[in-house]
Amino acid sequence: MSSAPHTIHKKGSLMEEIHDAREISVQKCYQCGKCSAGCPLAEDMDYPPSVIMRLLQTEDRQNEAIALRSETIWLCVTCETCATRCPMEIDIPGVMDFCRQRSLEKKMTHPKAKNIIAFHKAFLDSIDYTGRLYELGLIADYKARSFQLGQDVALAPGMIAKGKLSFLPELIRDRKGLAAIFRKTLHRKGGRS
């Protein structure tokens, strides 16, 4: 999915960065709207996916900021319906991934995305510590990060009765190796998106 040779990006625009980092050509979008039509969460988003694409296409700093500050990029569940249907085969979820990471780096995240981000971070914490997901630890970490203390408490007894909740984490042997992976990626200062 490389861009046509005559394409000239505005230097330093997000569209150029997305192309350099992920070989995705946002400029190929011709606004047919198929992504927004098929997106299961479009009606809950502040801007449908095709508008995010258009905002990036303008290569205007203010418009780019609207995209990075949007709730849309965090509501996208990467179901890949848009990418499957895009007539230009643009990897739209890849664009969303890039925008999420940039939005986080620049501290531009939408206030309503707080819990979604808290959950992702708690999830990765758990893997960082033990190598595998420890569900009880994840929930505790998420509650501490999001202050959603009462949520899902009613589910716990049922999960325990059905043998679905372990009290102890499973630890992998090579935890050092795992920690090194996190150090070289997520915890690296100035890491790329």
Binding site: V77, T78, A83, L124, I127, I172
Partner: protein, 301 residues
Amino acid sequence: MKLGYYPGCSLKGGSREYKESVVALCKRFDITLVEVPDWNCCGATAAHNLNKELSLSLPARILAQAEKAGFEEILVPCAACYNRLMVTAHEMKTQPALGQRVKEIIGMEVSGKVRILNVIQLIEKYLLDKLELKMHRPFDYRAACYYGCLLVRPSNILQFDRPEDPETMDKVIRKIGGQPVEWEFKVECCGAGMSVSRTDLVAKLSGKVIDNAVYRGAEVIIVACPMCHSNLDMRRPDINKYLEKKTDIPVLYITQAMGLAVGISEKELGLHRHFVPVRLPEKGLLTDMPGEELEHQQKEG
């Protein structure tokens, strides 16, 4: 026969009945599953949302461990893990510089020669040809086969089944005596990883899936993904609240449906672990199926 196997975290925790049914079904077909040594989490949605290199490095370490153990092929029953492993193998192959960087991060070699099988591919490749001999009673129910996102998309990478109207699970259901229903939400999203952080949205998306399956006359929904299962099953109270009606259609893993058809006990298949009770009416017990007797005869002959 021995087969390499990456269970992933869900199968060890909240979706242990999926693991139980996969293992029991394989055992019934004389396949012993051998876990990838010292495997780690694939990173799931969280990793690719927050950091691309991390999202490739975690699955790459799993592939490296599988290679080191000498596996040529591994079964990955969780659709989310399957998706992450497939995407990683593809990106490392098609973008050599990125692949090199990932190998440096994990400090291990990945040649990319390990084949990755999802659970339906396992059934098609190793179980279907022996199914007739093992049949115990037909799974004689109207079933909505729910594929969700991660088994079929992105289709250019996974290259498994048809992305808009997949049919592999429907074929399996037909083979075990069931009747797949035609419905509209086969590949719609259940809300996936937002189960905890945005339960309201999961209730809405999963609610539409349940509602359509019931509307099309299904008696049971069949899945092959732990996230789809927990959203449709464990989140049913939220779903029913969203739908403003009480739905009680059970959600079974394809391995549980097949397990029942070949005579594995409900307990061994973990049916008691579901939140929505599995109350399927008794139908077609040992009537027109050749069943165990045939198998027995063949062994003796």
